[in-house]
């Protein structure tokens, strides 16, 4: 048993942390995360140049990573910096495109010259891959897509869509009418409408691959939560240690100490389950352990987000305080790619 990352992954994490610490402070983040295009194209380009996107791609496709621990290292740093760049969308897209001999697109995505979004869920169905309404109809050599996809992360900035249709097929298109929006915790998503939109077919049965890609995305969210929890816990400890009331720092109050300790225990548990899920990502037990991790993260991250807000008192309620944005992100992560209740059901099967 060994809980240390490889030298390469430690370097990856260190260089990403250094970059984000130097170039991506919270003011910069908040400026780009809440208004169109809901990220900072300059930052994205620099992340690509740093090789961060290539870390999500296996060597067979020209990257240098792509395994569970590569994903967790990158996203934990994203969580620490609360980075709102469209990395989740890119992970999902790369994960799928690497399966279908789309090397040219993979190269462009790794280089940051194109951006992808994966369109799976729909307004009427935001959590399962069955009963989808978006259709794909063959028309000569091409296919025509019709329907509306929702919860498409990264859609406002994407120039490429991977679309799961009602026939279970997976389609690739550059078009689609995007109604983009900022999420309450930052970053962009969109509703994408296809109206006889031409597309090419990647596969006629993509459901299992989409499930696998979504599991990689869930692991990424778990790791992101762990990074953000670590930081928010440290901010909370620091705040309690300097805030004075009743003539003393409030860190001396046992009621507040014990709540903080319970946060710390959950952070360790969340780190453990994320590590376990990362180790299982490329095994037959993937779905079960990712479901476990996403369930526990859903509970743990919500607890840490809510408790941090409470322990900070009024200041934690303000937009100006960085901690409030961490708390929002931690609470909203449960809403992405299946909340804790959906993960419970996945554990049952």
């Amino acid at each position: 048993m060994d809980f240390k990352h490889t030298e390469d992954r430690r370097m990856l994490g260190d260089s990403l942390r250094r970059y984000l610490t130097d170039k991506y402070d919270i003011e910069h983040r908040n400026k780009s995360a809440y208004s169109a295009p809901f990220h900072d194209p300059g930052t994205w380009q620099e992340l690509a140049e740093l090789g961060i996107l290539s870390a999500l791609v296996p060597p067979a496709n020209g990257g240098f990573g792509g395994e569970g621990f590569d994903i967790s290292v990158v996203f934990e740093e994203f969580g620490r910096a609360l980075c709102a760049e469209p990395m989740l969308a890119t992970l999902l897209g790369l994960n799928l495109l690497c399966r279908y001999e789309q090397q040219e697109l993979v190269n462009e995505l790794m280089a940051g010259t194109r951006k992808v979004a994966v369109a799976v869920f729909e307004p009427d169905n935001s959590d399962s891959l069955t009963d989808l309404q978006t259709t794909a109809e063959q028309s000569g050599d091409s296919w025509l897509l019709n329907g509306t996809k929702s919860v498409v992360y990264g859609a406002p900035t994407a120039d490429l869509f991977v679309v799961l249709a009602s026939d279970g097929g997976l389609y690739l298109t550059e078009d689609g009418e995007v109604a983009g929006y900022a999420m309450i915790d930052g970053g962009g998503a969109g509703q994408v409408t296809f109206d006889a939109t031409p597309a090419t077919q990647l596969t006629d049965d993509g459901v299992a691959d989409v499930e696998a890609a979504l599991d990689a995305g869930r692991l990424a969210l778990c790791a992101e939560a762990v990074g953000a929890m670590d930081v928010l816990l440290a901010m909370t400890v620091e705040y309690l240690s300097q805030r004075q009331q009743f003539g003393t720092v409030i860190a001396t109050f046992q009621a507040l100490q014990h709540r903080t300790v319970d946060m710390a225990v959950e952070v360790e548990q969340c780190r453990s389950i994320t590590t376990l899920a990362a180790s299982k990502l490329d095994t037959p037990e993937r779905a079960r352990y990712v479901a476990m991790a996403k369930n526990l993260i859903g509970r743990g991250a919500t607890l840490v987000g809510e408790e941090a807000t409470q322990l900070h008192g009024g200041i934690g309620m303000t937009w100006e305080y960085a901690g409030s944005h961490y708390a929002k992100r931690l609470i909203m992560i449960d809403h992405q790619l299946g909340d804790r209740f959906i993960q419970q059901q996945r554990m049952a099967s």
């Binding site: 809980f3 990352h5 992954r9 240690s241």
Partner: protein, 392 residues
């Protein structure tokens, strides 16, 4: 990053499994599975089997007849034992006094006492808590006053687990009243045959006799029975708490109990359907399963840190909190799953339509409320962690 056991550790685990399969008596395993109370001779029989294999003193170095195991090996052994329903090693002599003597005892004490712990000649119990000194252990009042080459002990100890089986007790006693309370405490060994000592049972809420109170009235003990220096007792007690605690997380017990809970959901019905088909109830089980899987890794991470030389502290407190919370939650769901059939107290000979292994589950649930109270309550554990986080 590698979450699997090393080949050596795997081989060790297989060896433990094989040993349990061949050497754990069936009747003891069955009692464990059914959560029946173990008799003194049950425990002594199991200790003797372990001792014959050289696996009884899991916290002692080899030179004293111990296993010399690493924390990881110890953890593997304890998890396997728990999952096999083996009796738990009674820790007072083996895992508490033994390590204390090895660290603080005189050569004579080690030579005389350690072999008698191993071969079962002596059954030690613990005299720490007092009616007025629980979480605030340093406020203990039992006095040991020197009179020639004897201490005269007066006072009362309580929560003495399995004291009814013991012939010896190790005690924290007050030998000085000046200075800070911690500075006047000594660690002494007492023969329970000493005139002036009386042990009385305390009946617990589930009905069982597990703990006792011990009264000392002018009990005379040789000064030679002092361990370490006079007034060094607090250091010894703290050493014990931080360095020799085993199986804090109780992952093996929770794994066993969770498997039993899942079995039970197949066997009992709710609204005419197997409980296993109730998604709300099952959802709670799945969440506990996620908690337990995380704890398994947290435990290994912290054992690994200890192996790498980090001083244990906040980590063991975290394991204690989370481990007991999970174990109690599993027990609570088990009790709930039994519905109204959880209630029978003493009802031999009636078939309630529940599995045999569920017969004592409610009693065990009530008994296990102790988990978050003893060994430093979970609130005390939070204080310890908070001290590390906030300083002071």
């Amino acid at each position: 990053m590698d979450l699997t056991l090393t080949p050596e550790e795997q081989a060790f685990r297989d060896e433990v499994r094989e040993f349990l399969k061949t050497s754990l008596p069936e009747d003891l395993a069955l009692k464990g599975e059914n959560l029946e109370e173990l008799s003194k001779s049950d425990v002594e029989r199991w200790h003797a089997i372990l001792n014959a294999r050289g696996w009884l003193a899991v916290t002692w170095p080899v030179e004293y007849g111990g296993t010399g195991w690493t924390a990881v090996e110890r953890n593997i052994f304890e998890e396997e034992c728990a999952m096999a329903n083996a009796p738990r090693i009674v820790p007072f002599g083996l895992n508490m006094l033994g390590p204390v003597l090895i660290k603080f005892g005189s050569e004579e004490q080690k030579a005389e006492i350690l072999p008698r712990i191993l071969d079962g000649t002596d059954w030690w119990c613990q005299g720490y808590s007092e009616p007025g000194a629980g979480s605030d252990l340093a406020s203990l009042k039992t006095r040991a006053v020197r009179d020639g080459d004897e201490y005269v002990i007066n006072g009362q100890k309580t929560w003495t687990t399995l004291g009814q089986y013991a012939n010896k007790i190790f005690c924290l006693v007050r030998t000085a009243t000046e200075g800070k309370p911690q500075q006047g405490i000594s660690f002494v060994l007492v023969d329970l045959d000493t005139p002036g000592i009386e042990m009385r049972p305390i009946r617990l809420l589930e009905g069982g006799h597990e703990v006792n109170e011990v009264f000392f009235t002018d009990a005379r003990v040789p000064v030679a029975n002092l361990v370490g220096e006079e007034n060094q007792g607090w250091t010894i007690a703290k050493y014990l708490l931080t360095h020799e605690r085993t199986n804090i997380a109780g992952v093996g017990f929770s794994t066993r109990d969770l498997a039993k809970l899942k079995r039970l959901t197949e066997a009992v019905k709710r609204n005419g359907r197997p409980l296993a088909e109730d998604p709300v109830f099952m959802g709670k089980i799945y969440e506990l399963e996620a908690d337990l899987e995380a704890l398994r890794i947290t435990n290994m991470r912290m054992l690994q840190q200890a192996k790498d030389g980090a001083a244990p502290g906040a980590e063991s407190s975290m394991l204690k909190i989370k481990g007991t919370v999970i174990r109690q939650a599993i027990g609570s769901l088990y009790r709930t799953a039994l519905g109204p059939q959880a209630a029978p107290f003493e009802a031999d000979g009636i078939d309630f339509g529940i599995p045999t292994e569920a017969m004592y589950a409610t009693a065990a649930y009530f008994n296990n409320r102790k988990l978050s109270i003893y060994g430093g309550s979970n609130e005390i554990q939070r204080n310890i962690i908070a001290k590390g986080m906030f300083g002071g």
